[in-house]
């Protein structure tokens, strides 16, 4: 039985087939509207989430399936001290597939070892968020018609941002990726990501301090939130935060086919006046999250049997 716990659990080929399936769903959603009739998705969300949980629920409902679960550890048996392993075993009797978000890193992996049904990691603390990575890859593919041959600027908090680390790992498997890391010194990409992922991939990368200096060269600008609490002092935050806020004015030098992405939620790192620019793709990205999760559910349940290897 297959699970999706780590962004690299699927091979590059499996990922490409999954993204292609998501594309077919986008083109003809009606053809998939009853593919999960009679199936149940359990959403076990031990910590709050808006987009991810609703996206999973929407995905299952759009496939004709049903959803059960909880949102918040307070409304689960975790408050009684039940282990993740026991919860996974029990829920396997109630549902055909599990999507789990947990504040402890590695909890979905534990669940996958004990569950009798496929488990999807819907975010484990600051660790992995593989369905966001699939969403990001689908968005790049839909915007550019390909994933390889892309210059991607990753901007903002590149140190703590789990979506950024997962995306770097996933992109490293494609051809001709040019990474541009745009962040303050305090929030730069961790050394182990460079040493264990980027450098072995052979892809060129550069580190810059402002987005303006690289804007004309970018195919993708992936924005992330710069959080006040990541800085040692308020002065540094105030000094640096504006460098990582995208405005319509900063987009002047960008290419017309640039795609601006953001995993959301955004706070102030993308000015509202960017939303109406056709290059702003972050809401389309959120929509893609539903389609890629539909494809994932179909693949893990074996309803689309030619996506994942046995």
């Amino acid at each position: 039985m297959r699970h999706l716990i780590d962004p690299l659990d699927f091979t590059r080929e499996e990922t490409d087939r999954l993204l292609a399936l998501a594309g077919r769903i986008i083109e003809d959603p009606a053809a998939y509207a009853h593919r999960c009739d009679g199936r149940i998705l359990a959403t076990l969300f031990y910590e709050p989430s808006t987009r991810t949980r609703l996206s999973f629920e929407s995905a299952m409902m759009r496939l004709g399936g049903k959803v059960l679960g909880f949102a918040g550890a307070d409304s689960s048996s975790a408050t009684k001290g039940e282990s993740v392993a026991d919860t996974a075993r029990m829920v396997s009797a109630y549902a055909d597939v599990i999507a789990m978000r947990h504040f402890k890193e590695g909890a979905p992996y534990v669940a996958s070892r004990y569950a009798g049904v496929p488990v999807i990691n819907a975010g484990d603390g600051g660790h992995n968020h593989p369905t966001q990575t699939l969403t990001d890859l689908l968005t790049i593919l839909r915007c550019r018609g390909k994933i390889g041959g892309t210059t991607i600027g990753l901007c903002g908090d590149l140190k703590f941002g789990r979506t950024v680390h997962s995306l770097i790992k996933a992109l490293a498997r494609y051809e001709d990726i040019n990474f541009v890391f745009i962040s303050p010194e305090e929030l730069k990409v961790p050394g182990y990501i460079l040493k264990e992922v980027v450098e072995p991939s052979g892809h060129p990368y550069e580190t810059v301090r402002t987005m303006e200096e690289v804007m004309p060269r970018l195919d993708i600008l992936y924005m992330t939130r710069v959080q006040r609490e990541r800085f040692f002092n308020e002065e540094d935050y105030v000094r640096l935060k504006d460098s990582f806020i995208l405005t319509r004015d900063k987009l002047r030098t960008a290419r017309q086919d640039l795609a601006v992405m953001h995993p959301l939620p955004r706070v102030n790192e993308i000015a509202a006046d960017v939303d109406s620019d056709p290059r702003a793709k972050y809401f389309e990205q959120a929509r893609n999250g539903v389609y890629v999760r539909m494809a994932l559910i179909l693949a893990l349940l074996g309803i689309e049997s030619d996506i994942l290897e046995a």
Partner: protein, 147 residues
């Protein structure tokens, strides 16, 4: 100079970094053996100044996998009929199960009773990561050499 008899059949773990002998003894679970085991601490070493040595009499089939993690300096000598028949350095284990514990308070292993599993992420630098949260394990002073 302390004299310990040579062994006729068994294993000698030589060149253990001085101070790590007891840790090796514990992790190899040598306390569970019913045979003669000698731990020699701070023996004179031309190469390292001093070293620890463990001699295990009459047993050949000890799982030595973990030794490579604790001390790559160690040498494993197999003795048969009083003669050295095999000598080698321990290999780095690919996976460590219940040998070390994850110190990341955000890791699920901090609250769930599951095996502590670490995998070798970089053979050159001897680095291991927790299978659950991927946090790198940092050795503490006295726990073995870090490269």
């Amino acid at each position: 100079m302390l004299n310990i008899d040579s062994i006729e059949n068994g294993i000698v773990i030589d060149h253990i970094t001085a101070g790590l002998g007891m840790r090796v003894y514990e992790l190899l679970k040598l306390d569970q053996l019913d045979t003669c085991v000698a731990i020699i601490k701070n023996a004179r070493s031309e190469k390292y100044g001093k070293k620890d040595i463990i001699k295990i009499e009459g047993v050949m089939n000890i799982d030595l996998d973990v030794l490579g993690f604790i001390d790559t300096n160690a040498t494993v000598c197999t003795i048969r009929g009083g003669k050295l028949v095999q000598k080698g350095k321990p290999a780095l284990p690919k996976v460590l199960t219940n040998i070390i514990s994850c110190r990341n308070p955000r890791c699920i292993t901090s609250v769930e009773a599951v095996d502590q599993v670490f995998y070798l992420c970089d053979e050159k630098t001897h680095r291991y990561r927790c299978k659950y949260c991927e946090q790198e394990y940092k050795k503490e002073p006295g726990e073995g050499e870090t490269v």
